[in-house]
Amino acid sequence: MTQKRRNFLKKLIGTSAMSVLGTEIVFSNNMPKGYSPVILNSLDDNALEMLKKNKEMTILSDRPWNVEAPAHLLDDEVTPLDKMFVRNNGNPPENIDIKSWTLTIEGESAKTKKTFTLEQLKKQFKQYTYQIQLECGGNGRSGFVPQASGNQWSEGAINCAEWTGVRLKDVLNSVGIKDDAVYIGYFGKDTHLSGDPKKVTISRGVPIKKALEDESLLAWAVNGQEIPLMHGYPLRLILGGWPASVSGKWLEKIVVRNKVHDGEKMDGTHYRVPLYPIEPGGKAPDSDYRIIESMPVKSVITYPKTGAMIDDGKTLSLRGHAWAGDLEVSQMEISIDFGATWQKVSLQKPKNRLAWQHWSTEVKFPRKGYYEVWAKATDAKGIAQPMVIPAWNPAGYLNNSCHRIAIKVV
């Protein structure tokens, strides 16, 4: 063992722990300086309250925060803030000063570099409000067998809230985009879990065509309020219909790229799936992966909550939402006989492009017993949700299998 290494180990003696215990502490051979395995595993009864989340939300992880809504909490037409899922990759920034917050646009395919304060964005560009569905690429991951690693989302990593901001295209055009522009990438102010200030947590993006759509926003408000810290305060990119990880939070920079953005979590199995179906548990070479773009068609039953018991002969009202990434949902059906027969239900048009659509119906059950209600949406291209789990992929993305609830007629 070298002297250097010995000194390094000496430095590992944590002062705070020292004062607590008055003992020499050597954690382990390779832990970096300043690191302390303190368990701030603060999942207590107050966590949801602290996050201003509904008590029935499920905490999947408390560092980083990953919180989802059980399906019945998604019943509102516009998802309230306390029922919006949280998917953080790192730690949100601290001590945010809204007055000095800026957004910089630059990159090899930007004609110039420009920096805007929030006030400038609000004053210089026309403001728009849209209802936009945001779904985590891993929503439904818990359905995959064998298990895929990452947060084990059920149905609830989806929401549709009302975002207010300026169009990304208006801002990009004011800066100027070169003809060779291919992609945009974002950078946010969240910090990496390792504590290394130089390490980027996540920096994803979309092709320039998606960035220039009307509904692609630089948003500072959601449901008429400031964006909550967990959801990207004070500025968030909103790119609906795609894995929500492209809607960068705590936004401070956008780069206009002349190639596919190569930021953190744009590679490997991050938000990428094999080009062709592989067997469950299988592998594909890195070159055979594609970046997930539009999310697939999906729906959720938000009323009643699963487990409802109803009296024989009674009619049951059912409702929920359906969405299809960049597309519209064209048809919605339910089945109460495990998919043997399907009945069409009434489906509303979206409030605007990329908003989820509301559906509702009533059903009568033929006799007493255990039933499952299955819900199936079909998109504008005629592609429907599968009844069983779709193609397995290593990181467990895109599980859009039909949502089911259990009903007992007694």
Binding site: S16, L21, N41, L60, V145
Partner: protein
């Protein structure tokens, strides 16, 4: 100086953890190995076993133990995630702790066989169909 002294470190961790109350995540109850008669560590929801101290020291600094509790995999599967964190997330070389951590993870958080809606097809005899 190869030996790792953990006792003191852990005492400090327990002390600091006692500042906050922890409820085990629902996934931590999911398919925990029958060996877990010793129960769950109240700070982390992890199964109490001889390797626990090492696992807590190596694995709970950056993120909550819930990132671990949500996952089930074979030794190879866990090793693959550790290598991924080393490649991309600044996880250090675990050195002699690696087999200890892997013993623990694969023993208490090994793969679970469960059917969801349909079993995956098994015992497939692959063959080439001519014509």
């Amino acid at each position: 100086m190869k030996k790792i002294m953990l006792v003191a470190a852990l005492l400090s961790m327990v002390y600091l953890a006692s500042l906050g109350k922890i409820t085990p995540h629902p996934y931590s109850q999911k398919a925990i190995h029958a060996d877990s008669t010793k129960g769950l560590d109240p700070e982390t929801g992890l199964v109490i076993a001889k390797e626990l101290d090492m696992v807590k020291a190596q694995c709970t600094g950056c993120h909550s133990s819930k990132m671990i509790l949500q996952f089930r995999a074979s030794r190879e599967g866990w090793l693959e995630r550790i290598r991924w964190m080393q490649r991309t997330q600044k996880l250090w070389d675990l050195g002699e702790a690696e087999p200890v951590v892997l013993d623990y993870l694969s023993k208490y958080y090994g793969p679970v066989k469960h059917a969801q809606r349909r079993q995956p097809l098994s015992n497939i005899q692959w063959y080439k169909l001519n014509k």
